[in-house]
């Protein structure tokens, strides 16, 4: 872990609600899906923050707000101290050049009609930072970095395997040497034997170019391998956050423990102490009162259904939102 502690990205009180409408002719808002409901976190320079949770917990929406693909309902995303949603003109262009993303499905994230060379060079062209004459070299350099040969630039995405396509996606995100790359489930659609290659590649990028990652994943093992810090989300809230080793060795929130236990022990001997959660994730349209996890929690108390626990410090570099602590 590097000692550089300056904060690159800061999320404060971020909320993103999606209106749900009903009615055939006159639409009216029937309620809100609270996809992200008041979360805070920070991401230091040159570090990786792992955002963990199951589908519908709001982790991808958080990423989309940070990438300015969605407007926040309230709250702020600050990049190098500036509120991202207020950026315009040259500042916005700088932000666009500094933040990139890699998504889960490499088939959908590469334009099937563009050659790999143009796919990788697009951010370079759009940013206006790189002179035209240098773009070709930068593309070559990027391809080289991700281990694809130079002829790849002339091929179309469908001529590559899934793992190679994800390399192209990484090469594109890396081409401008951004400050931050949002990795949204970067390996979940890949074969098991390919995943380590891609993860190692991302690690190399971080080491060589000092890039920060926001890693979004449902896979706790991947997050442990990649991240310096982690935040666990459940139904739009962060329920536990902290330094990686802290959270993995002393999980405090019952949800985190259940997740860790469900996440596949490789040794069959471990099966006995497995905690299997009952019930399903509640709907974010109508979240439970109090602690959102309480209907599934095996350690719930009276107060859990009444008052919502706040994220509070619990140990060195460790926060949890639970009435037990």
């Amino acid at each position: 872990m590097t000692a550089d502690k300056s904060i690159l990205l800061e999320v404060q009180g971020l909320k993103k609600y999606f209106p749900v409408t009903e009615g055939l002719v006159f639409l009216r808002t029937a309620g809100y899906v609270k996809a992200v409901d008041d979360i805070d976190f920070e991401l230091p320079e040159r570090q990786t923050l792992g955002l963990v949770g199951e589908s519908g917990c709001g982790k991808t929406t958080t990423a989309r707000v940070i990438l300015r693909l969605e407007e926040p309902t309230s709250g702020r995303v600050c990049f190098q101290g500036k509120d991202v949603s207020r950026l315009g003109g040259a500042d916005l262009r700088r932000y666009r050049a500094a933040v990139h993303a890699v998504f889960q499905d490499p088939t959908s994230s590469l334009n099937p009609r563009m050659r790999v060379g143009s796919i990788i060079s697009e951010p370079l062209e759009v940013s206006g930072k790189i002179p035209r004459s240098e773009i070709k070299d930068r593309v070559k350099e990027s391809l080289d970095f991700v281990g694809l040969n130079q002829d790849s630039a002339g091929l179309f995405p469908h001529e590559f395997s899934g793992g190679q396509r994800q390399r192209v996606a990484l090469a594109r995100a890396f081409a401008l040497r951004p400050r931050l790359i949002v990795l949204d489930e970067p390996v979940s659609s890949l074969d098991v034997s390919i995943r380590a290659q891609i993860l190692n590649l991302a690690k190399d990028m971080q080491e060589q170019a000092g890039i920060s990652f926001l890693l979004i994943s449902h896979d706790l093992a991947t997050v442990r391998y990649m991240s310096h810090r982690i935040a666990v989300m459940y139904l739009g809230k962060i329920v536990e956050a902290g330094a990686r080793d802290e959270v993995y060795s002393h999980p405090l929130h019952p949800y985190t423990s259940a997740l860790l236990s469900a996440a596949s022990p490789l040794r069959p001997g471990d099966q006995q102490k497995e905690v299997v959660l009952t019930g399903e994730v509640s709907s974010p349209l109508n979240p439970p009162s109090g602690c959102r996890f309480h209907p599934r929690c095996d350690r719930r108390m009276k107060s859990c259904s009444d008052t919502e626990p706040q994220l509070k410090p619990a140990g060195a570099d460790h926060q949890v939102a639970c009435h037990l602590y």
Binding site: L67, A97, F103, I119, N149
Partner: protein, 292 residues
């Protein structure tokens, strides 16, 4: 640990691949038609407008009373059917292609804008297409023809005006699909402008559909032109077009079938060939299908 790209590419192999499965007969028919239309001035045995009343209503050469001077016979004014067919093909093809180009560009542009922008822009454009599509086509065409006066340009405008709404609608639907793909989101993340996303990301992906639609519609445009000419709202006489020739011949269908039959057959051949060709293009232009 450089990974090899999977497929070798040589220009020859590419050509062969691209031409594999070309429907040869339709292609041949189309090429012949186009060549005939272009070189009508040189190969037509007679002038298409020159009348010769002594030779009126002569049958094709293989029928009793026919002669090899007028291979496919003559019409009521003694004009050579074969020559008129050649020039008629020229005008019909020009009208339909021009109308397709105008209608496609206009419709595709609106479809791209509607699909990409969404919101009120989308609603506005889509309501306009609803109106266009719910108007009776022939009535609209006649109305326009009457108010603008029959001319070459009028026909092109009329056919294009009827066509654009379909394109706008279909292209918008396609755009709505492509817009949800991650590469569009990533382009926005990279800072690409709306114009760039439309032109570099969305347009190339709908181009396929557009080309296929256009090819399929060539036949429709020729029929449309034919119908307008048939109703007297088309290319003004004596300029021949395939549609007006059918129209002229309809009074003589019992006694001199060849006047209406040959242009009718020509329309049928062009439309059929275009449709078969369009089918092939749809498959051949898909890079994923091409690889298999």
């Amino acid at each position: 640990m450089a990974l090899d790209a999977t497929r070798e590419k040589t220009p020859v192999a590419n050509w062969k691949l691209a031409l594999r499965g070309v429907p040869w007969i339709p292609a041949f028919v189309l090429v012949t038609m186009v060549l005939v239309a272009i070189f009508a001035d040189f190969i037509a045995p007679h002038s298409p407008t020159e009348t010769s009343l002594p030779h009126k209503l002569q049958p094709p050469f293989w029928q009793a009373g026919g002669s090899t001077t007028y291979l496919l016979g003559t019409d009521a004014l003694g004009r050579d059917v074969l020559s008129r067919l050649m020039f008629g093909a020229r005008y019909s093809l020009i009208v339909s292609l021009a109308a397709i180009v105008v209608g496609t560009s206009f419709g595709a542009a609106l479809g791209l804008i509607a699909g990409y922008c969404g919101g009120w822009v989308d609603s506005l454009i889509m309501r306009a297409t609803d109106v266009m599509l719910s108007l009776p086509v022939i009535l609209l065409a006649l109305l326009l023809a009457v108010s603008l006066g029959p001319s070459f340009i009028t026909i092109i405008i009329i056919v294009a005006a009827v066509l654009w709404a379909r394109y706008a609608r279909i292209i918008r639907g396609e755009v709505l699909y492509w817009k949800t793909q991650d590469f569009v989101a990533l382009a926005r993340v990279a800072g690409a402008s709306g114009f760039r996303i439309i032109s570099r990301h969305l347009f190339p992906n709908v181009l396929n559909t557009l080309l296929v639609l256009a090819t399929m519609q060539v036949g429709w445009a020729i029929i449309m032109e034919g119908s307008l000419s048939f109703l007297g709202a088309g290319v003004p006489p004596p300029t021949p077009s395939l549609g007006s020739m059918v129209s002229d011949g309809r009074n003589y269908i019992a006694s001199a079938w060849w006047i209406a039959m040959f242009p009718g057959l020509a329309i049928l051949l062009i439309v059929l060939s275009m449709n078969l060709f369009g089918d092939w293009m749809r498959d051949a232009f898909d890079p994923k299908l091409r690889q298999m």
